[in-house]
Subunit: 271 residues, 2 copies
């Protein structure tokens, strides 16, 4: 999916919501456990209930990998089930030397046909470029993450005066374009969105951490939005585990709708 199509979807749905499919078999409603593939049954119901309000789905690969072969089957079925006009993100945070990153790229872009994959920047350009070689696909590079550990290295000052994550934004802009690269920017640092936007005005930002991790959607939207919206704001647990009962899908839909309505307001105010 290209940038114009993504923006068109955002305008049509009045939403920039990404639903994180971090599906943990230990947390799904017990009545699903008798299904042949409980994780897929859960995801299918969540997708049915939220597709109207979401422009992207983001399975975190760890949740599927932790289940071994069965997990990869659930993931493939989930990906096949997601409507084709919704952007898909393999939240994999991969990154390896060049030829090896190329294999990961093939795994996510060809074997599984994701639109995008999250990539870690630590190993530099030749670990990221192989992902950018796929026409019509996206790299979502880790910039500033929303966890406490982002203070350990990402926020440290470099000799250049930039913080490490700012250096990552600067350097990596030469590798791709706003048409094949996005950045992960954690929502717990809403005050930094303005500065980040000066540095990368055009790129889409994938913003985790709204909801369970405590980010503030209004300030993220106010300071992070650009003329093409430029935001995908993720919510995982707040939506998919809104209820642990038989009404889990209905509650997930209601929760997604609530966020979408808030987003429609911010699109009106800040776009």
């Amino acid at each position: 999916m290209d940038r114009a199509s993504l923006f068109a979807a955002i305008q049509k749905k009045q939403s920039y919501l990404c639903v994180g499919l971090d599906t943990d078999i230990q947390k799904i409603p017990s009545h699903l456990l008798k299904e042949k593939d409980p994780v897929f049954a859960f995801n299918k119901a969540i997708i049915d209930a939220t597709a109207e309000y979401a422009v992207a789905y983001k399975p975190n690969l760890a949740f599927y990998e932790a289940m071994g072969l069965a997990g990869w089957e659930s993931l493939q079925k989930t990906l096949d089930y997601i409507p084709k006009d919704i952007f898909t993100i393999a939240d994999a945070k991969r990154g390896d030397i060049g030829n090896t990153s190329g294999l990961y790229a093939r795994a996510f872009f060809e074997a599984m046909n994701f639109d995008s994959v999250t990539v870690a920047p630590y190993m530099g350009e030749d670990s990221v470029k192989p992902f950018l070689a796929f026409e019509g696909k996206w790299v979502i590079l880790l910039g500033l993450t929303s966890n406490a550990g982002s203070e350990d290295f990402q926020s440290l000052k470099m000799a250049s005066g930039l913080r490490l994550y700012e250096q990552v934004l600067e350097t990596s802009q030469l590798w791709g374009t706003p048409d094949n690269m996005m950045y992960v920017i954690g929502a717990t640092k809403a005050q930094q969105f303005g500065e980040i936007r000066k540095r990368i005005p055009d790129h889409f930002l994938l913003v985790p951490g709204v909801g369970a991790q405590g980010g503030d959607l209004r300030s993220v939207s106010q300071y992070g939005m650009n003329p093409q919206c430029g935001l995908l704001v993720n919510s995982s647990r707040g939506i998919i585990y809104a209820s642990s009962g038989a009404d889990f899908a209905q509650k997930a839909g209601e929760e997604a709708r609530k966020i979408q309505q808030e987003m429609a307001e911010y699109l009106h105010l800040f776009l």
Copy 2:
């Protein structure tokens, strides 16, 4: 496997060789393609031919993940086949927020029973700690990698005066101990091993890049060895693709033996 057992294996085999099982189905001898699981058939023959000379095996997960479900089956069979007294490394370079890293840890340490997993440091302490919570298991943290992209961020100077990878070594020493943490240190920077050893005298270092990537085993050994050897030096392509014919396993064994004999000499000289 604990540190003392690893050192005992090194002394017994007179080797600190790690064989990288980066098995690419497009590169294995054509006569294996009629096997039910060609990748496992290849790995099995390589293990049979090299086990005498190797103290560790390191499958890079990308090669298996790129093959989808079949790849994970080949990986599991390979891991089950590796003799129990040989250290195993899941070269996965994972790293995610805390609860998610915990899932990756379960995948590699419980579902698959690897001894260790490579982890990327960019997301900081809470992305690494969940791996350290597993008794008897190891984190191998990326320090300085052997690819060109290591210049992009890892080698940059911080405001503190340290380079980023030095900062990673400093900070991460507080998270684990030499008994549950190792570091990836790329062999193309042999001159830096002395400095690195001042900073982390006791930790084992996993050294990629000897062989196809052009590192120099002698200088790595001279400057990198500590009183418990403290080195695992990896070779992948130079061993497993030593021949592309029917004699691939024999040639792999000869190549591994050649490296082992060189290592025996360096253990004599530098230990």
